[in-house]
Amino acid sequence: MRPLAHDEIEEVLGAYALNAVDSDEAALVEQHLEGCPRCRSEVAGHREVATLLGNTGGDAPAGLWDRISVQLEESPPPMRLDLPGALGTITPLAPRRRERSNRIVAVALGAAAALAIGVLGAQVVRQQDQLDRFEAAIEDGSLLSAANVALRDPEATKVELTSADGTVSVTAVVLSDGTGYLMANELPGLEGGRTYQLWGQTSTGLISLGLLGGAPGAILPFEGGTDLAALAVTAEEAGGVVQSENPAVVVGELG
């Protein structure tokens, strides 16, 4: 469809405000609205009127609230990692979300640097499709079978690493000798030049356990030692960092 002139757009603003245009025409109007404050203000006025017409009374159906409340994303439980005293403590702050309100658990690791373990917002864009994940899994076939063997080991510890809002969850398995596998199939793809980095909480502090790359579907073998208490994944510049300034994408504690 050709772009419409201002006066043609103007004519349709009433219908647009009532959601009474088809999607093609709505797209044209929206394109125009971006650059036209006058039309934006007219639409806002029409919408206000529409809301008055649609503002009706009555009760909500019985039982509906119960159906909604069971679907609510749980408030993330305060995360506690037992850091050795010399390295500081983790203080869970009041939960916050999204850009201005991401939940952050500050980790005091001394004056020099701190690793903030927090959550990824719910609006994580999952850019990679299922095919990519599948191909990655095939390429990692040998690792996958090793990881599957580890998962079946009765002595192994299985760890679920989750984002605090619960939308992202990945599994790691740690064998009794400290060897482990992280199966990062649920991590959303990162933009180029970024990588996921796995961290382990041990008696000597937070240590880097390796880089996963930025594509989903990776399986990372790691050596966590026998005193591994927790795992966390952050997103970093390619190459990784010694100490992260970024919030954790997912976090999980052992046992």
Partner: protein, 207 residues
């Protein structure tokens, strides 16, 4: 690293974190929702779910589908509280706008086409524009009814079919056997007229 929100004054934020929510404003409720307080969503639901349900039901003419819409609308404010901007309107009007948009999407989906045809037949049979049962506040109902009644018939019908019927203006033109251009401009002039009646000088209605 950044942390403090800096949004709003401290008082509402403190209320949102641990205050009593039954007395607080909608804006504070939404802050509390963004802090994962389920009772804040429950309070928003108590205040607005009836209106959201009534609008969805009016559009969809189907209680079960309307309940679905109510669920979607409230789960959306729970999951994306930052989409609501209290500077741009009330929570009620935001929820109703969400509800209307989703209801229209459902109406226009292929699966509901048949139900809709049947519904249109029923609507024609019922005829009329009955607002008394629709509007919470009687005086407001009266004013809206008056304002709607003062519109030329074609404007009233076009707005009603578009907004409550979920029809595009092209469909409205078919239904009323009028040229598309006429319907388009009638909807617009009708809304402008209603606005000056209802929102105009000293007559302001707040939701």
């Amino acid at each position: 690293m950044s942390s403090e929100t800096g949004a709003g004054s401290e008082q509402p934020v403190a209320m949102a974190i641990d205050g009593d929510l039954t007395e607080c404003s909608d804006a504070v409720l939404v802050v509390a929702i963004s802090r994962y307080r389920q009772e804040a969503l429950a309070e928003a639901y108590r205040r607005h779910a009836g209106a959201v349900f009534a609008l969805a039901k009016r559009l969809l003419a189907d209680a079960a589908m309307a309940e679905e819409i109510v669920q979607e609308v409230f789960l959306r404010i729970w999951n994306q509280p930052e989409k609501f901007d209290s500077e741009r309107g009330t929570l009620r009007s935001y929820l109703l706008a969400q509800c209307h948009g989703r209801s229209v999407d459902v109406l226009r989906s292929e699966t509901s086409r048949r139900a809709r045809e049947e519904r249109d037949v029923r609507r024609t049979a019922e005829k009329g524009y009955d607002l008394e049962h629709e509007v919470l506040d009687l005086s407001m109902a009266e004013r809206i009814k008056e304002a709607m009644g003062s519109l030329p018939e074609i404007e009233r019908e076009a707005i009603s079919l578009a907004y409550f019927g979920g029809h595009t203006y092209r469909e409205v033109a078919d239904l009323l056997d009028q040229p598309e251009g006429t319907v388009k401009s009638r909807i617009r002039t009708g809304l402008k007229r209603l606005r000056s009646e209802l929102v105009g000088a000293g007559n302001g209605i707040d939701l």
